[in-house]
């Protein structure tokens, strides 16, 4: 029977009100860089856990592609070992693994060789027949950024990228770093969008897959009591800390190229700034959320020129020290790091968000390697009391701390009367801990993000303009600090909270870093 053309637009009457998320369509997932660290530690264990929890469609398969010479069976065995080691659920569920492994294939080959992609095409066609994956493809670039151009060209050349209107979907997940500065990010975006549509591109930042980061949106926009005070009238300043106690863990070659600004600030830390500072989206869909994040990035006052950088940015590099009772080497003693390297391993930055809500409220960011402990948090420091009723300094300003990791949760610090004393306040903490309040194990960030990519939901992935706006800010700093005459980063001893200049950055505004 003929249908009116607008029948496609009829809302799905059976979708309304369902508690379960929609299941992904059948799909073949292709992992480029299949023998690498990310595939071993994160991607395959995440996919296995999705299989265990029955979140993957039964018509599903994974094709690993990389240079290493494996047979299908060897790859399956290698991945089983990786799952045994890195999966968050243990022991391995043999039934689930058998099912999952039956859809695991491997294609060896170099990315610049046509033969590799011919074999890949043949394997995918075989998978469509054997696993009913229906021609749907999700390509995952778990490879160094230098390989992205050749992968895009090869996929395009071999007809593996279908246009967005095609009933068989093609999506590409691209790992960070997305470019190494604004120019290269723009060039990469151009290259990507020459062969596909923005709706097919999933630029991944695994921080956005963390429950606490997503909870920030629920916390802000799912409660009435916080939003009225979430502005310049009540907030004195915001501190965002993303600290790691680890060093560069043998990745000297990568880190020498990246440094802390590219590795952490441009992506993870600025994403936290966006989620903290953004306005409520009109709807909880990909573009509405990302529109609001882009507005924040565009409202960031640029940090350009040596003077602005000197005033608002402190960079550091760790020297040998002690962490948790153990000696650790300095950055320049690490493997593949040049003597005299000027790569920063620590950054403290003062950002200003020039908009109606945040004008005059500094956002202080700090991130570094070899700091005393691994932790990420957002601290909203509220204003001082207008009148010191209980004595000057007796009541500390309220602080709301959102702990992203570890011990995910939220703490509100406020004053309470010390029992027995005459109106003597003391700061106490009201604490919410994710792990206690919701005893169910949270999925790994990669599980959530892979599911979203399989479903085609781009909300937690960064959009072209978002990436470029983030680079815009960082680019201004990079231009100054990477100039030949730029001063070297300040040294700081491993196991401390960065160079003393980072403390001075706040001290001159009459503020101090929190001691997390």
């Amino acid at each position: 029977m003929p249908y009116a053309p607008d029948h496609d637009q009829v809302p799905n009457p059976l979708r309304y009100g369902l508690r379960a998320d929609s299941a992904p369509e059948p799909c073949a997932l292709v992992v480029f860089g299949a023998s690498g660290d990310l595939a071993h530690r994160k991607l395959i264990p995440a996919l296995y856990n999705l299989a265990v929890s029955a979140h993957l469609p039964a018509a599903f398969g994974v094709v690993g592609v990389s240079k290493s010479e494996y047979t299908h069976q060897q790859y399956q065995e290698d991945m089983r070992e990786a799952v045994g080691k890195f999966s968050r659920t243990k022991p391995i569920d043999e039934d689930a693994w058998r099912d999952f492994a039956a859809g695991l294939r491997y294609v060896p080959g170099a990315f610049d060789e046509d033969a590799t992609f011919q074999r890949l095409s043949a394997t995918l066609e075989e998978m469509d027949r054997a696993r009913a994956t229906r021609g749907n493809r999700l390509f995952y670039f778990a490879t160094p950024p230098s390989t992205y151009p050749v992968l895009l060209q090869q996929l395009h050349k071999h007809g593996l990228i279908r246009p967005p209107g095609d009933p068989r979907f093609t999506r590409v997940v691209i790992e960070k770093p997305f470019g190494r500065d604004l120019a290269s990010a723009r060039a990469l975006n151009r290259m990507v969008l020459e062969v596909m549509d923005e709706r097919q591109v999933f630029r991944i930042d695994h921080y956005l897959g963390k429950e606490t980061v997503q909870n920030l949106l629920v916390f802000r926009f799912g409660n009435t009591i916080f939003e009225p005070i979430w502005n310049r009238n009540y907030v004195d300043h915001v501190q965002i800390t993303a600290a790691e106690e680890l060093g560069i863990e043998g990745r000297g070659r990568y880190y020498e190229e990246a440094g802390i600004l590219r590795d952490m600030i441009q992506n993870h830390v600025l994403q936290l700034v966006c989620l903290t500072a953004m306005e409520a989206p009109v709807a909880f869909d990909a573009d509405s959320v990302r529109d609001e994040k882009v507005k924040v990035l565009r409202a960031l006052a640029p940090i350009e020129g040596p003077e602005a950088v000197a005033q608002r940015v402190v960079l550091g590099q760790y020297t040998a020290g002690q962490i948790a009772g153990n000696d650790v080497p300095g950055y320049q003693e690490e493997k593949d790091v040049a003597k005299g390297s000027r790569t920063p391993t620590f950054a403290a930055i003062q950002l200003n968000v020039d908009n109606w809500r945040w004008d005059g409220v500094p956002f202080y960011l700090r991130s570094g390697k070899r700091l005393p402990k691994r932790m990420t948090e957002i601290a909203i420091q509220f204003r001082k009391l207008p009148h010191a009723l209980f004595g000057e300094g007796a009541s500390a300003p309220n602080t709301l701390v959102i702990r992203v990791q570890p011990e995910e949760g939220i703490a509100l610090r406020f004053s309470a009367k010390v029992p027995g004393e005459r109106y003597r306040p003391r700061t106490v903490s009201m604490d919410f801990r994710y792990g206690s309040a919701f005893a169910a194990a949270s999925p790994e960030a990669y599980e959530r993000l892979l599911m979203d990519a399989l479903r085609g939901d781009q909300t937690l992935f960064t959009r072209k303009d978002e990436v470029e706006a983030a680079w815009q800010l960082v680019d201004g700093i990079l231009k100054v600090i990477e100039a030949p005459d730029a001063p070297a980063p300040y040294p700081y001893e491993a196991g401390t909270w960065g160079p003393k200049e980072a403390h001075e950055l706040l001290a001159r505004d009459g503020r101090a870093w929190r001691r997390p």
Partner: protein
């Protein structure tokens, strides 16, 4: 993420026996002593730590055996949702006038995340249970009652009035009992139903096939549906038909008795209805369970069928015979369904309420 965060709490599986404290009252009750016992249980093994509770979970049973059957489910759900669990076991026909309180706690990441108080009363002691319950509930937090009895009577009515949610399992009873539930829900009772949670995979898959790009054009032309149950009609099948009917009002819905079940296990509802955990496992297909579900948008028929632990969707008339979707049925471990229902701690599930009203209309008319 640190290893200690978000891991399932270990208790509930192991602690029975060694960490349970109990006290018996032969003449009335002293709840102060029950609270003291609870505190003692918390202090066992060192510092009590903080107690985290999101709600009060109340189980009401009429025999120790019924509670035994439900125990794993309650504890499993409690592992997912930190709470104070208060279980009332009333044996009116039992001898004596005693009440026994058993308390224990379960920890997660250093905090107490499940406090369990089991009050067992016999004979005249049963009359103390309700007032004891009201005193033992954590204030300000929602109260969810898991009802293990028949879906009728004064006691259930009182539970409905006092609770933010009452969870039943209409799958353990004959489908005709849905009429009583529907009447309660029509009066605004915040009822949750494990039979409803059991059909989520069918509902999801049916919605999924209509989201497939080249099949969306059929959304506006849905005309009829058939639910095929194995060996007899079960409550889940009626609810699934009701759900479809409530979502596509112009559609004609039929309930059909289909193939023989793969197992001799009795149809949900044929039992005494005393357990909240009487659901059948995913496979094999039990009597009364849904074997297939078809709906049409002429000339196209969408056909969903169950094969062991898989649900398979096909479409005929459009892409003839092509397998569209296969999804794994999630494992029906004890407590998973209850855990699903506990995601809603207060109020009515509007979708269930609408489906239930439509489901009742599908039941055969009783009487001459």
């Amino acid at each position: 993420m640190s290893a200690s965060i978000g891991e399932p709490i270990s208790g509930g599986q192991a602690p029975r026996g060694w960490d349970e404290l109990s006290i018996r009252f032969d003449d009335g009750m002293d709840l102060g002593k029950v609270r003291a016992l609870l505190q003692q249980a918390k202090e066992r093994g060192g510092t009590p730590g903080e107690t985290v509770s999101a709600f009060n979970l109340v189980g009401i049973y009429f025999s120790p055996a019924a509670y035994e059957r439900a125990q794993a489910a309650l504890e499993s759900a409690g592992r997912l949702h930190p709470c104070r669990l208060v279980v009332l076991i009333g044996e009116q026909r039992g001898e004596g006038d005693s009440v026994t309180a058993r308390v224990s706690v379960v920890r997660s990441g250093g905090a107490v995340s499940l406090e369990r108080i089991v009050l067992s009363a016999k004979g005249a002691g049963v009359r103390h249970l309700q007032s004891a319950l009201l005193d033992l509930l954590l204030p300000e937090l929602p109260v969810v009652v898991v009802w293990g009895g028949r879906t009728e009577g004064d006691l259930l009515q009182r539970a409905v009035e006092a609770a933010d949610r009452v969870i039943i399992d209409s799958g353990t009873r004959a489908p005709e009992a849905l009429a009583e539930v529907a009447a309660m829900v029509a009066r605004g009772a915040p009822v949750g139903d494990l039979a409803w949670a059991r059909i989520f995979p069918w509902m999801s898959l049916a919605a999924d096939v209509l989201d497939v790009p080249n099949l969306r054009e059929h959304r506006g032309n849905l005309r009829s549906a058939r639910v095929i149950c194995a060996g007899g009609i079960g409550a889940e099948g009626v609810l699934l038909g009701g759900w479809f009917g409530s979502r596509v009002r112009k559609a004609r819905v039929q309930l059909v008795v289909g193939p023989e079940p793969e197992t001799d296990s009795s149809m949900p509802g044929a039992g005494d209805g005393a357990s909240a955990t009487g659901w059948a496992s995913t496979a094999p297909l039990g009597k009364g369970q849904i074997a297939a579900f078809e709906f049409t948008a002429p000339p196209v028929t969408f056909s969903l069928r169950r094969e062991k632990a898989l649900l398979i969707a096909e479409v005929r008339g459009d892409d003839d015979g092509e397998v569209l979707h296969r999804v794994r049925l999630p494992p029906e471990t004890p407590g998973r369904l209850l855990g699903l229902e506990l995601k809603l701690l207060a109020g009515q599930d509007e979708l269930y309420a609408a489906a239930l009203q439509a489901a009742v209309k599908l039941l055969p008319k009783s009487g001459p």
